[in-house]
């Protein structure tokens, strides 16, 4: 145990092997550490900047090459939270290097905004701060909004521009569809300024449905609305036979008597006059009443002819009860107080003719398969349950079923919905535009138990709807308020008094807008009193005739009484005056023959007005604007003068250009136009 006090053997020098290991590992470490900076050097943006300079060099753009500043470029806008580095690769957005057409060197098309004003990603999406191709354009773990496909690009505009926007037709169409297809009955779509989109499809109430149609028709209709009318707005709920039978049983059971059911049908109107004469006469009446302005009928070739404002009438004879139709034609509002259909003043004979004409429109096949067992109490109860679950009352008024609240997902921020919250159908691409588009195209394909029905929409309509929905982002909430441009809100204007009652009865606001309320099918009448002359207006109301030869839609003839016409004319000329507008401002003496002659020169020679308008049916071929052959009878000189000076000041949406006429030119043209007093509708 002596060696307890002895130190053990000591090896003091490192071996050669240890030194060799040390050297090799150190070398490997140094090499490995050099890889990351090398990787950095070969980045995407450096590559593109180099090839840009190469192209510029080949094109002998020496100045471009010299003035080029390399490195990462960015657009930084603090108040919008924008850090966009797209220009690090897209170095030619301004088009300084002419002819470099391949991406990323393509020139950005001219847009109403400065490129520096909003950056890129607000409209294009993608990841703005990224500097590699993959990260900037595609979905990654940290970024789930890839570059927006070009066909949805207008959704970018819609984030700030909340109303109709010139140059963004797809966005406008999409927003209109959200209302006209009734999407917003179930879904809330609120805009950043607080405006909530309202439905504009006017679904009929079902509270008196038993008077209008049969249970068989309801059954066939709800199983497949489009088999009755190809243009039907009502979507397909893909109901099975049993469900459709039960729902139709319930709808018939809940129906109550309408106020019109007490109106006696006069014998004159029931006795439809037979014979070829009568059918010609009925067709003429259908035409003269301009029913086809709103209602469409399928022709032999299968094309729809007519407007889509009211329901399609191709098979209306298979649908309606004859007595109901007669009462309806006599006074639609008595059955459906909120209808958009005007009250034609038809006499019993006309009602008989027209109803006979319409009832003949049917095909025997439509109800051929609808054989229903009599409705039992069970069936009615089940039908009520189904109606509640399906959400029928979200659109239609139904006795005993309240409109459902929060029935469908709120779409206010659907354009920036997190993908984690989206349930994709198997096999579809995981991005938002594809999801929204697929959801609209075939909602039920996402799994069983989903309630959204299938709408009949074309590809372009689906793209438009997707665009409108993608514009519903939550960016706008963080944008400065002054960037948000609200759309024109509809007011709740309604004309008052006796004239108001008549205008309501005629449903003028279905087509015309007045003081911000009403349709856009016909001219805005807000300042009509300043624009037109009394004699013309009285004549027009008695026998409306179109001003625009190219239009299919025309104002119908309402068979107004002379008293009604006087009331309306008085009211329009008094109430619908433009502010600061005096019909007497035009000096009548200025409108002399000399001026008219000078005006004619201006019309034909200097401004070439005949390319759009017709002043003389014999020579002129302009069909873009309204015919001016009798404009001297129609418009007031004061309106004409102001109109010529600045059309869009009077009608913001007009397509008539502003020619910046001098005062005397406008006066001379007015003098010429006032000489045009051909008989209305002349030239035929």
């Amino acid at each position: 145990m002596d060696n307890n006090n002895q130190p053990g053997p000591l090896r003091s020098r490192p071996t050669l092997r240890e030194l060799a290991y040390f050297g090799v590992v150190s070398l490997v470490l140094l090499v490995s550490l050099a890889i990351a900076p090398a990787k950095n050097y070969f980045s995407d943006w450096r590559h593109y900047q180099k090839s840009y300079l190469k192209i510029a060099g080949e094109r002998q753009s020496g100045t471009l090459v010299r003035s080029f500043q390399g490195g990462i470029r960015q657009t930084w806008i603090a108040k919008l939270g924008v850090v966009d580095r797209c220009e690090s690769c897209h170095v030619n957005l301004t088009g300084a290097l002419v002819g470099a057409t391949g991406q990323p060197f393509r020139k950005h098309p001219i847009i109403p905004h400065d490129l520096e004003q909003f950056g890129c990603a607000i409209c294009h999406r993608g990841q703005g701060p990224a500097t590699s191709v993959e990260e900037a354009h595609y979905t990654t773990e940290a970024w789930e909004q890839p570059l927006l496909p070009a066909r949805y690009l207008e959704s970018g505009c819609g984030q700030c521009h909340l109303g109709p926007l010139q140059g963004a037709p797809r966005l406008n169409e999409g927003r209109a569809l959200l209302s006209s297809q009734g999407c917003v009955h179930c879904h809330i779509v609120a805009q950043p300024d607080g405006n909530v989109l309202k439905p504009e499809d006017n679904p009929p109430p079902l509270t008196h449905i038993a008077e209008k149609t049969s249970r068989e028709w309801i059954y066939a209709w709800i199983r497949n609305p489009q088999s009755y009318a190809a243009s039907a707005t009502m979507p397909n709920f893909q109901l099975n036979e049993q469900d459709a039978a039960d729902i139709s049983a319930f709808l018939m059971a809940q129906s109550t008597a309408s106020p019109t059911s007490h109106i006696e049908i006069t014998t004159a109107s029931t006795a439809a006059a037979p014979g070829a004469d009568a059918s010609t006469e009925a067709a003429t009446l259908y035409g003269a009443s301009f029913c086809s302005s709103c209602h469409a009928v399928q022709n032999e070739a299968g094309n729809l002819v007519g407007g889509n404002f009211g329901p399609e009438l191709t098979r209306v004879g298979a649908k309606v009860n004859p007595d109901w139709l007669r009462r309806w034609l006599s006074n639609p509002a008595a059955y459906h107080p909120a209808t958009r259909m005007p009250h034609y003043r038809m006499d019993p004979k006309q009602v008989a003719l027209l109803s006979g004409f319409l009832l003949a429109k049917k095909d025997s096949d439509f109800l051929a398969n609808a054989h229903l067992a009599p409705a039992s109490a069970d069936s009615v109860a089940r039908g009520k349950k189904l109606v509640t679950e399906t959400g029928c009352a979200a659109c239609h008024q139904i006795n005993g079923v309240n409109p459902p609240q929060n029935f469908a997902p709120d779409l206010t921020h659907v354009g920036s919905r997190a993908l984690a919250q989206v349930v994709f159908a198997p096999g579809m691409k995981h991005n938002l535009p594809d999801y929204i588009s697929a959801k609209i195209h075939d909602p039920r394909s996402f799994g069983p138990g989903l309630k959204m029905p299938k709408f009949t929409l074309g590809e372009s309509q689906i793209d438009a709807l997707t665009t409108a929905l993608l514009s519903q982002t939550d960016h706008a909430a963080s944008f400065p308020k002054e960037l948000i441009i609200s759309g024109g809100r509809t007011s709740n204007y309604h004309p008052g008094g006796e004239a108001g009652r008549i205008m309501d009865d005629l449903r003028c606001l279905s087509c015309h807008a007045i003081n911000g309320n009403g349709g856009d099918m016909a001219p805005d009448l807000t300042w009509e009193g300043s624009a037109v002359q009394r004699a013309w207006l009285e004549d027009f109301l008695k026998n409306p005739n179109t001003l625009r030869p190219a239009l299919i839609r025309r104002m119908p003839k309402f068979n107004l009484s002379p008293g009604e016409i006087k009331t309306l004319t008085d009211y329009i000329l008094t109430a619908y005056q433009s502010p600061g507008f005096d019909a007497q401002t035009m000096d009548a003496h200025a409108l002399n023959a000399d001026a008219a002659a000078r005006g004619k020169q201006l019309f034909y020679a200097k401004y070439g007005c005949q390319s759009c308008h017709i002043a003389d049916y014999k020579n002129d071929k302009g069909y873009v604007g309204p015919a001016l052959t009798s404009v001297g009878n129609r418009l007031t000189p004061a309106w004409t003068y102001k109109w010529l000076k600045d059309p869009s000041a009077l009608r913001p949406a007009t397509i008539m250009p502003n020619f910046s006429l001098k005062d005397d030119e406008a006066r001379d043209l007015t003098a010429f136009l006032m000489t045009l007093k051909a008989k209305q509708g002349g030239g035929k």
């Binding site: 130190p7 000591l10 003091s12 490192p14 240890e18 890889i35 984690a420």
Partner: protein, 234 residues
């Protein structure tokens, strides 16, 4: 003193002149009494160069991992959108897995508290310093006690439906009870190795396997709503 002294103790009155240390080596103080002298090396440069090589190897490996795999980064934190499942860092996923079975008080506080406490007291738990085999003494009684404890614990896990923890428990516990059949005279090396292990070895091994299994399950096999998923099917 005998003829062949195991140890010499020379005691002199003048300590300053001849200082000696006397070591009384008792059975229970140390696991290891140096019986032979080892070769030694200088810390500088031999040991230090070994350390530097280890550092460099670790560095090289991590550099290559970093070159090949990017650190995860998801979208910006959004308190309104809860991901499903919301997972803690991987080293806490064992605990999160337990939270799935037990109330937070147990899985989140009691269990980790006990684990940390147990880890701290391990070296002060002054039994079986020499690492004597579990079955060296009292074999029958120990077999009975451990068998009952193990069975009771398994029933407890079964009641709470903790299959994930039950499987390793049965595995390690079974191996422990099985090792009672062997002794230092068993023919196979593996059997001799098993039989030589003390109780602390079995407890720590159980902890290690539990920790690994729970963490792996929580990391790879749990999906939305903490339901079972297979990592290769996503």
């Amino acid at each position: 003193m005998t003829d062949d002294p195991k140890m010499q103790a020379e005691v002199q009155s003048d300590v300053r002149k001849n200082p000696r240390r006397i070591a009384f080596i008792l059975r229970r103080t140390s696991p290891h009494v140096k019986t032979q002298d080892d070769t030694r090396v200088m810390t500088y440069p031999t040991a230090l160069s070994r350390f530097v090589i280890a550092l460099e190897v670790a560095f090289v490996l991590l550099v290559w991992i970093s070159l090949l795999a990017n650190a995860p980064l998801e979208g910006i934190a959004d308190p309104m959108h809860t991901p499903n499942p919301a997972k803690a860092p991987w080293y806490f996923l064992g605990l999160q897995e337990l939270l799935h079975y037990f109330p937070p008080m147990v899985a989140g506080v009691l269990v980790p508290g006990l684990v940390v406490g147990a880890l701290i007291v391990i070296p002060y738990f002054n039994i079986n310093i020499e690492g004597e085999s579990l079955w060296a003494r009292d074999r029958k009684r120990r077999l009975l006690v451990l068998g009952v404890v193990l069975a009771a614990f398994c029933v407890f896990l079964l009641v709470f439906d903790v299959i994930v923890a039950l499987v390793p428990t049965i595995l390690i516990g079974g191996l422990m009870l099985w090792s009672a059949r062997f002794s230092a005279e068993s023919p196979k090396l593996f059997q001799r190795w098993l039989s030589s292990k003390p109780l602390s070895f079995w407890i720590m091994s159980w902890f290690l396997v539990e920790l690994t299994v729970l963490t792996v399950v929580g990391t790879f096999f749990r999906g939305p709503g903490w339901s079972w998923v297979l990592p290769w099917k996503s």
